[in-house]
C-alpha cells in the first residue's frame, strides 16, 4: 500500500486557529481586562497628547508669532476691491479679507506714544476669520463709530464703556499732503484683541468704510490690505514656502505686493509632540509587553501541549495575534474616545487658563487626524509589544515548556517604565520650579529700560521724527536713572520710497559709504558671495543708493559700552580693546548676516581682516559732503545674540560717538537708542513706578516713533511662561506616570496572584498579615527604588542638557534634589499603599480557601 506522504505533511489545521483563539480569549478574562486597560490607557495618552499637542502647536505658534491678520497667519497682498475679487476667485485661496486704511499713517494721539495704532475699515470676513470677536457693543456701521480692543480700553482706562466719545488724531490726505486732523468718534463696541502678545507696540481700531469718503477721500486704495488664507502650503516646509505662494497670488491678481509673517514656529512645537508620543509609546510598550509576557509564561505548558499535538509555531503565533487584535481594537476604540474628549477639555483648560496671551488663538486639533494618528500609533505599540512574547510561545518545545520559569524581564520593564515617568517628573519639576524669571529678564535686557527709535530697526509710515535731546536729558535727569547711555545710528536723506505717487515708506536708518576703499571692496565681494550661494533671490545683499553709494548701518557709541556689548558677539578676528577703540583711530566691522540662516556671503575673492588699514568715504547727507576717514580694523565680529538684547545688533561699521559726531553734521537727529538702569530692583511696585514715569515722559514728548522696552514688562511675561511650562510639563509627567505606576502595580499584583498558593502556604506555616504586607512592600520597593535610582542617574544629565536650551534658565541643583525627594516620598507611599491594598485583597479569602483553590 502506498502512503501519500504529501498528505502527511500538508497543514490541514488552518481555521482552527480562530476557534482556539476565541476559546483561549474567553479563558483569560483577567488578562484580557488588564490588557484592554493597558491598551486603553496607552491610547488615551497617545490620543490626548495628539489632541493637546496639535492644539498647542497651532495655538502657541499662532500666538507667539502673531502678526496682523492672525487667521491668515499674517499672509497678505496689497490692493483694492478689484484685486480682492480676483484674489477670492483663485483656487489656492481659502478666503480673503479686506482691510482698508482710513488714516494715511498711524494715529497721532499722544496717549498712543510707543504704540503703533492703525485705523481700519474691515469687511465681515476680516472680523470673522481674523478673530476680531465682539465683547460688547456692535461693529461700526457709521463713519463716526469706532470699535476698540479690550487691551486698548485697559490702556486708556475706558473700562469698556460703550457710547462714549473719543477724539482720534487722524492723518488725512489733503491736496497731496498728509495733514493731521482731530476727529471726534463714538465708541460703539470693544473686541477681544487677537494680537495681545504685541499689544505694547501695535493696536488696531476699526471704523466703517464710509469714514474714508467722509474724512479722507483723497486717500489711495492701492495699499489696502487683503489678508489671504492659502490652502496650498506644504506642511513639511513649515511655512517656508509662503513667499513663493503669495507671489503667485499677487501676480495672478495684479496686487501691488505681498507681505507675510517672517517666522513660523510650528516646527519648534510639532517635533516635541511626536517625541512625547514616542515616549508614551515606550511606556505603553513596557506595560503591554509585561502583560502578555506574564500571560505567556503562565500558559507556556498549554502552548507546549498544543505543539505536542501538532500545532505549528506559525499557527500558535496567529492564534495569539487574533487575541491581540481583539484586545487592541477594544482598547483603541475606548481610548480614542476618552483621549480625544479629555484632550479637548484639558487642552483648552491648560492652554487658556495658564496663558492669557494665547487664549484668543486657541485652535483644537482636527478630529480625523487625531483619531487616525492615535489609532495607528496605539496599534503599532500593541503589535511591537507582543512580538517577542508571541515568538517565545511559538518557539518553545514541549519539553522546555514543562520546566519554563520565564525570564526576569517583566521586572526590568516595570522598572524602566516607572523610571521613565520619574525622569520626566524630575526634568519638568527642576526646569519649571527652577525657572528663574530674573535670569530671563537679564537675558533679554541689557539694561532695565531701553527707548529705541523704530526707524533704526524698521521702516516707517511717515517722515522720520528724531529722538529729541530734551527727552534724553529728561530721562537722564530721573533720580533713579543709572548707567545712562546713548547710541547713534546714521540716517541718510531722502529716506523714503514712493508707492502710488505718495512718499509711502520711509526706510530704516542706514548710512552710505563711497565705492572706494577696502570696506566697499568687501561689500562687493559679499554680494558676489551671495550670488555664488544662490541666495540673492531671498536675501538681499548690500544695496546701492541713488548716488551709487553702498548702504550700511553705521553706529556710534561711547567706547566704555564695549565691555557690556561684548557678550553678544563672537569676535572672528582681532580683539575688542576698549582703549584702542576710544582713541578714535579704530573701527569694528560686522558683515551683514541673514538671520542665522547660514547664508554667509563668503567668497567673492576678498575680505577685510582685523589689523587692516581701511579708508572709508562717509556720505554726510545733511551737509551734502563726503567725509574721508582712515581706520585700523580693530575686530571683525558676528552677532550671537538670539534675544536681540544687544544695542549694536546689525550695525556694520561701529565707531566711537566722537568719531560719529565728527562725520555726521546732523548727528543730534540720529539718536537711535537710550538705555539706562533703574534704582536697583527693590520691589515690583517701585519698578512699576519707574516704568510709568518713563512712559509718561515719552507720552508727553509726543514722538510716536519710539519703542519702549523694560525688564518690568518682561517680568510679567516670564512669570506666565513659568506657569505654562510647569502646568504642561507636570500634566505630561503625570499622565506618563500613570502608565509607570500601573505597570509596577500590574507586575507585582500578577506575581502575587501567581504565587497566591505560596503565600497561603507561608501563612499556613506562620507568616502573619503584617509580615506579608512587609514582604509585598519589599517587593514593590525593589522595583520602585531601582526605578528612582535609574531616573536620578539619567534624569540629572538630561535635565542639565535641557536646561541649556534658551527657553529655560539652566539646571538648578536644589530644585532637582527637591524633585528627587518628592519622588522618593511618593514612591514610599505608593509601595506602602499598594502593599496594604494587596494584602487586604489577598486575605479576603481565608488561608484554607486559598489552599483549596489549587487543591
Amino acid at each position: 500500500m502506498n502512503i501519500d506522504m504529501s498528505i502527511m505533511y500538508r497543514n490541514s489545521n488552518t481555521g482552527i486557529e480562530k476557534e482556539l483563539a476565541i476559546e483561549e480569549y474567553r479563558a483569560h478574562k483577567a488578562r484580557n481586562r488588564m490588557a484592554v486597560l493597558a491598551v486603553t490607557l496607552t491610547t488615551i495618552l497617545i490620543t490626548l497628547i495628539f489632541t493637546v499637542g496639535l492644539s498647542l502647536v497651532r495655538t502657541v505658534s499662532l500666538a507667539v508669532t502673531a502678526a496682523p491678520g492672525p487667521g491668515a497667519d499674517g499672509n497678505c497682498v496689497y490692493g483694492d476691491e478689484e484685486v480682492l475679487e480676483k484674489v477670492r476667485a483663485l483656487p489656492q485661496v481659502d478666503w480673503a479679507a479686506h482691510v482698508k486704511r482710513c488714516s494715511s499713517t498711524y494715529l497721532h494721539n499722544r496717549e498712543f506714544a510707543g504704540v503703533e495704532v492703525r485705523l481700519f475699515a474691515a469687511d465681515k470676513v476680516h472680523y470673522e476669520k481674523n478673530m476680531v470677536d465682539l465683547i460688547t457693543g456692535k461693529y461700526p456701521e457709521k463713519e463716526n463709530e469706532i470699535l476698540l480692543s479690550d487691551t486698548m480700553s485697559k490702556r486708556l482706562g475706558l473700562e469698556e464703556e460703550v457710547g462714549i466719545s473719543y477724539p482720534l488724531m487722524v492723518v488725512v490726505r489733503e491736496n497731496g499732503e498728509d495733514v493731521e486732523k482731530e476727529i471726534s468718534m463714538n465708541v460703539c463696541g470693544y473686541y477681544n484683541n487677537p494680537l495681545r502678545n504685541v499689544k505694547e507696540i501695535y493696536e488696531e481700531i476699526y471704523t466703517d468704510e464710509s469714514f474714508i469718503s467722509v474724512y479722507n477721500p483723497e486717500l489711495s486704495s492701492g495699499r489696502d490690505i487683503i489678508y489671504v488664507k492659502l490652502n496650498n502650503l506644504d506642511f513639511f516646509r513649515f511655512g517656508h514656502d509662503k513667499y513663493e505662494k503669495l507671489e503667485e497670488v499677487a501676480n495672478a491678481s495684479g496686487a501691488s505686493s505681498s507681505g507675510y509673517k517672517m517666522s513660523d514656529m510650528s516646527a519648534v512645537f510639532i517635533i516635541p509632540v511626536f517625541l512625547i508620543v514616542f515616549l508614551v509609546m515606550l511606556c505603553g510598550y513596557f506595560f503591554i509587553y509585561n502583560i502578555f509576557d506574564i500571560s505567556i509564561t503562565n500558559d507556556i505548558r498549554f502552548y507546549g501541549e498544543l505543539k505536542t499535538i501538532g500545532m505549528t509555531s506559525g499557527q500558535l503565533r496567529r492564534m495569539l495575534f487574533i487575541q491581540m487584535n481583539r484586545i487592541a481594537w477594544k482598547g483603541i476604540a475606548a481610548g480614542s474616545l476618552i483621549g480625544f474628549g479629555t484632550g479637548k477639555i484639558a487642552g483648552r483648560e491648560i492652554i487658556c487658563s495658564f496663558a492669557e496671551g494665547v487664549k484668543g488663538y486657541y485652535q483644537t486639533a482636527g478630529v480625523l487626524e487625531v483619531f487616525v494618528l492615535g489609532a495607528f500609533f496605539s496599534w503599532v505599540t500593541v503589535y511591537i509589544s507582543t512580538m517577542k512574547p508571541f515568538r517565545a510561545a511559538g518557539n518553545i518545545s514541549p519539553v522546555e515548556a514543562v520546566r519554563y520559569r520565564g525570564k526576569r524581564k517583566k521586572g526590568i520593564f516595570s522598572i524602566l517604565s516607572f523610571s521613565l515617568s520619574g525622569i520626566l517628573f524630575l526634568a519638568v519639576y527642576t526646569l519649571s520650579i527652577g525657572y528663574r524669571v530674573d535670569v530671563m529678564r537679564e537675558r533679554y535686557n541689557e539694561t532695565d529700560f531701553r527707548i529705541s527709535h523704530k526707524g533704526s530697526m524698521w521702516s516707517l509710515d511717515e517722515a522720520y521724527q528724531p529722538i529729541s535731546r530734551k527727552l534724553a536729558e529728561e530721562l537722564a535727569g530721573f533720580p533713579f536713572a543709572e548707567n545712562f547711555r546713548i547710541y547713534y545710528q546714521a540716517r541718510t536723506m531722502p529716506d523714503y520710497v514712493e508707492v502710488d505717487g505718495e512718499a509711502a515708506i520711509y526706510l530704516s536708518s542706514t548710512g552710505e559709504i563711497g565705492k572706494n576703499g577696502e570696506i566697499a571692496r568687501d561689500v562687493e565681494a559679499y554680494n558676489e558671495g551671495l550670488k555664488e550661494e544662490g541666495a540673492e533671490k531671498y536675501y538681499y545683499g548690500i544695496r546701492e543708493s541713488e548716488r551709487g553709494n553702498y548702504q550700511l548701518e553705521v553706529l556710534g557709541m561711547d567706547a566704555e559700552y564695549l565691555t557690556d556689548e561684548e557678550k553678544y558677539f563672537k569676535v572672528l578676528e582681532g580683539e575688542l580693546d576698549e582703549k584702542k577703540f576710544a582713541s578714535g583711530n579704530y573701527m569694528i566691522y560686522q558683515r551683514k548676516q541673514n538671520g542665522g540662516r547660514g547664508i554667509t556671503g563668503e567668497g567673492g575673492g576678498y575680505q577685510v581682516h582685523a589689523g587692516d588699514e581701511v579708508e572709508i568715504s562717509f556720505y554726510d547727507a545733511d551737509a551734502n559732503r563726503y567725509v574721508e576717514k582712515k581706520f585700523t580694523v580693530l575686530a571683525i565680529i558676528a552677532e550671537i545674540d538670539p534675544f536681540s538684547t544687544s544695542n549694536i545688533q546689525n550695525a556694520n561699521i561701529i565707531l566711537t560717538d566722537e568719531t560719529f559726531r565728527s562725520i555726521y553734521s546732523g548727528c543730534e537727529d540720529y539718536i537711535s537708542k537710550i538705555c539706562f538702569d533703574g534704582n536697583g530692583h527693590i520691589s515690583l511696585e517701585e519698578e512699576r513706578e519707574e516704568y510709568e514715569a518713563i512712559q509718561k515722559a515719552i507720552g508727553e514728548d509726543g514722538n510716536l516713533q519710539l519703542y519702549f522696552q523694560s525688564e518690568y514688562e518682561d517680568e510679567m511675561h516670564f512669570n506666565e511662561e513659568k506657569r505654562i511650562i510647569g502646568a504642561i510639563g507636570m500634566f505630561i509627567a503625570g499622565i506618563v506616570g500613570l502608565i509607570g505606576i500601573s505597570n509596577v502595580m500590574n507586575t507585582v499584583a500578577t506575581e502575587l496572584s501567581a504565587r497566591r498558593l505560596e503565600y497561603a502556604a507561608m501563612q499556613s506555616i506562620g507568616m502573619t498579615k503584617r509580615q506579608m504586607e512587609m514582604a509585598l512592600f519589599g517587593q514593590y520597593a525593589r522595583y520602585v527604588f531601582s526605578a528612582v535610582g535609574l531616573a536620578a542617574a539619567v534624569g540629572a544629565p538630561l535635565t542639565y542638557a535641557l536646561g541649556l536650551n534658551y527657553q529655560f534658565t539652566g539646571f538648578s541643583l536644589p530644585e532637582f534634589l527637591q524633585a528627587l525627594a518628592l519622588l522618593l516620598v511618593f514612591s514610599i507611599l505608593l509601595c506602602g499603599v499598594m502593599a496594604h491594598i494587596l494584602t487586604k485583597a489577598m486575605n479576603r479569602k481565608s488561608v484554607v480557601e486559598r489552599l483549596r483553590e489549587v487543591a
Partner: protein, 220 residues
C-alpha cells in the same frame, strides 16, 4: 503525656436544609511522640478537622488544646504565631516556595519568627531525610518525592509540638509514597515528633500507631 486534645469540635457550613456538618462534635486526644492517622473517605471531614487543629480555620463550637493552649480562642495573629512555633504542616501539594532554594524553604518558619536557624540541626534533618545534597537547588529541580522530603524538613525544622500531614503521599507513586511514610516514621522516632496524618488510604494508615476513623464528620 497528652499533647493534643480535641473536645466536642464542630464546624458547620450553610444553614437550614443546606446545612453541612463537616465536623460534628469530635473529641479525641493524642499522646506526645505518637503517630496518629485520621482515615475517612472523601468528604468525611478529615481535612476540615486538620485545618481546625492547625488553627487555619474557625470552629463553630468546641476546643482544640495543643500543649495546654487553646488554639481556637486565639485571634488571627496569635494563631499564626502559635502555628509558626508549634505546628508543622505537610501538604499533599508540598506547597514549597518556588523562588526560594531548599535551605531557605526549610528555614522559612524559623526566619519568619525572627530567629536564626540552628545550622547543625537543619543539616541533621536534611541528612536524615536524604536531601543534604539539594540545599542550593530549587523546588522545580526536584522530584515529587524529594519535594515532599523538603516539606517534611520544613515542618519539623522549628521543632513543633505537632506535625500535621494532609495526604502527604497523595501526589506520589506507591513506591515513593512508601518512602515518605518511612521517613515520617523515622521522624517520629528520631525527633520524638508527634504526627497527625490524614489519609483515605487504609494501607498507609496502618503504618501509624493509632487510627481514627471519620465518617460524615463524626468519629466511628
Amino acid at each position: 503525656m497528652e499533647i493534643l486534645a480535641v473536645r466536642n469540635l464542630k464546624k458547620y457550613y450553610g444553614s437550614g436544609e443546606s446545612l453541612i456538618k463537616a465536623v460534628d462534635g469530635i473529641s479525641f486526644s493524642v499522646e506526645k511522640g505518637s503517630f496518629t492517622a485520621i482515615v475517612g473517605t472523601s468528604g468525611s471531614g478529615k481535612t476540615t478537622l486538620l485545618n481546625l487543629i492547625g488553627g487555619l480555620d474557625y470552629a463553630d463550637e468546641g476546643e482544640v488544646m495543643i500543649g495546654g493552649k487553646s488554639v481556637l480562642k486565639m485571634n488571627d495573629d496569635e494563631r499564626t504565631v502559635f502555628r509558626r512555633r508549634n505546628i508543622g504542616f505537610v501538604f499533599q501539594n508540598y506547597n514549597l516556595i518556588s523562588t526560594l532554594n531548599i535551605y531557605k524553604n526549610i528555614t522559612l518558619p524559623i526566619r519568619l519568627d525572627g530567629n536564626k536557624p540552628d545550622g547543625e540541626y537543619i543539616r541533621h534533618i536534611c541528612k536524615t531525610l536524604g536531601i543534604e545534597e539539594k540545599m542550593e537547588s530549587y523546588p522545580n529541580q526536584l522530584s515529587g518525592g524529594q519535594q515532599q522530603r523538603v516539606a517534611i524538613a520544613r515542618a519539623i525544622a522549628a521543632k513543633p509540638a505537632v506535625l500535621l500531614a494532609d495526604e502527604p503521599t497523595g501526589n506520589l507513586d506507591s513506591r515513593t509514597g512508601a518512602e515518605v511514610m518511612g521517613l515520617l516514621k523515622m521522624t517520629e522516632k528520631e525527633f520524638n515528633q508527634t504526627i497527625i496524618m490524614i489519609t483515605h488510604n487504609e494501607a498507609i494508615a496502618q503504618l501509624a500507631d493509632d487510627i481514627i476513623h471519620l465518617e460524615d464528620g463524626k468519629l466511628v
